[in-house]
Amino acid sequence: MLPGRSRTSVLVFLVPPLLLYAVAVALPILQSLVLSFFSWDGVTDLQPVGLANYVKMFTADPIFWKAFANTMIYLAVCLFFQLGVSLFVANLLSYAGRGKEVAKTLYLLPAIISTVAIAFLFQRIYSYEPPGLINQILTTVGLGDLARPWLSEVNTVLVAVSAPEGWRFTGLYMLILYAAILAVPKELEEAARLDGASTWQVFAHVRFPYIRPVWVTTMIMAATYSLRGFDIPYLLTNGGPGQASELLTTYMFKTAFRSTDFGYASTIAVFIVIECIVAVGLILLLLRRGTDKS
């Protein structure tokens, strides 16, 4: 505590940030909670409906469950890229020779491109007529049978809209994990290696336990960001065809601003928040069990 501070000085520093935070974040959360118990189209009067929105969401809305299942697959694809691929590349990079700095910079590039530009790009990459990049490559290597309109087929569209989101942040998470790997004491790995440990063993028993806290942070970041993923599916397919690539976020957005059903949209929004908090809780639980074991 700073000597000579006064109550006023604390308030002067604390009130402006809290005020903005209240207006932009805290108040809207409360408003959403309240709205989720009402039915409202934005024009007529608010109609209190009790728990009806929640009952409808859990028991009578197949689109909600479809969107929830899609969100889980979207999350899995994103985590595959952002935790799996990024960890693999970070390790590769630690063994590579020259040019690491350039590789890091280039690898991060997709993260600074706007989602709108990325959606344009992937619309062309997935295109069927005229053939886009993927279909051209498939035809060239003799797998032309596999060529298909990736974004309009029910079976492929969900993975097709998830991959760009995973792809664009792989570099970011790779960078974070790489920084953590650099901090692993070289003597530890060297000692293990002299004892005859293979690269895999060094990774599993020395390196990974050491970077584990950072990996968990990465996991929390990647999971919460993926659960709120919206832009790319919204721009590429708008949840279509049908509801094949509908996420909870796009469904919530449409419910609010297409169907102007603000009450029910708030109910879905509340669910998305709870889903994020549960995800973080599960990851932390996993972390605690992991550390207890070792």
């Binding site: 604390l14 940030p17 935070y21 959403s32 020779g97 997709p110 440990a197 690269t199």
Partner: protein
């Protein structure tokens, strides 16, 4: 060392043999890194090449090969059909104002919590931390309603307020973790010299925080520059559109999609951030790394 990936406990290898293997593994790893970088960057290079490719050639099927000629026509059409300058200006205003607020407000809150200290500071910190995991979608409907009541739709503020609000938690957190490292004696000495909390803030805390400021600005700046969801929800007037929104609108403005011109527009709008990124990449990479590893 990638060569020994699946070996069980490898037999102890002699010195020169070890070095040879290490060398081989290093080359192999470098090659793989190069391949992955190509996969990662090729789409972006293609985007740029396409923006210079004659429109007929793109439509005529040769969309991915080496272009037969390079042309600036696409750029001319891009500028003719949309007010790209306006979008860039709007994005600069929103990103600039948001960044200043995120840094200033984040620093103030962290100063009150960590340096001045008060009863219940842990509760305030907890309230801020909660904001890190709350998804932005929760705020869309309430903010839309509130904005329409007070006439804030289609303004810069409508984007700046939530962008700052949702970035504030990480900002506060980063500044608090940094302020922990400033020794108490520094403040006590200043206080003995008669400096009040305000002078200490402006003359000690602020100048020492340069690195954290850079981290906070870059981590948030990229996301704010590219923000789509708030702009898409709160702004519909052409004159207030930021780059992501203007680009999306681009396709509609042309009726049938003029892809080469669209990609030219993408290139124009990506350029400012790309330049900053390439010039400052060391600082940005440092910022992103420390931003996450501290968390």
């Amino acid at each position: 060392m990638t060569t020994g990936l699946h070996a069980p406990v490898a037999a102890r290898v002699s010195g020169p043999e070890r070095r040879r293997r290490l060398h081989l593994a290093r080359n192999f790893a470098s090659l793989l890194v190069l391949l992955i970088v190509i996969v990662q960057v090729y789409p972006l290079v293609w985007l740029f090449v396409t923006s210079l490719r004659p429109a007929q050639e793109f439509a005529g099927g040769n969309a991915f090969g080496i272009p037969s000629a390079l042309t600036w026509d696409n750029y001319a059409r891009a500028f003719a059909s949309a007010d790209l300058g306006r979008y860039i200006f709007n994005s600069l205003v929103v990103t600039g104002a948001s960044s200043i607020l995120i840094v200033l407000l984040g620093m103030m809150a962290a100063y009150a919590i960590q340096v001045l200290g008060f009863k219940g500071s842990r509760i305030v910190m907890g309230a801020f931390l909660l904001g890190i995991i709350v998804p932005v979608q929760i705020a869309l409907v309430p903010l839309f309603i509130n904005y329409s009541r007070v006439g804030l739709l289609n303004t810069y503020q409508s984007m700046i307020i939530p962008l700052v609000g949702f970035a504030l938690p990480t900002s506060v957190y980063l500044f608090v973790s940094f302020f922990e490292y400033i020794p108490k004696e520094t403040y006590e000495a200043a206080a003995l010299d008669g400096a009040g909390p305000f002078r200490v803030f402006f003359e000690i805390t602020m100048p020492l925080s340069t690195n954290t400021v850079i981290t906070v600005v870059f981590v948030n700046g990229i996301f704010i520059w590219n923000d789509f969801i708030f702009a898409n929800t709160f702004v519909f007037e052409e004159t207030m559109k930021t780059i992501p929104l203007g680009l999306q609108n681009f396709i509609g403005a042309m009726g049938s999609v003029d892809w080469t011109a669209t990609f030219a527009a993408v290139c124009v709008t990506v350029t400012p951030l790309l330049l900053v990124f390439l010039i400052m990449n060391k600082a940005i990479i440092y910022g992103l790394e420390s931003g996450a590893t501290k968390g």
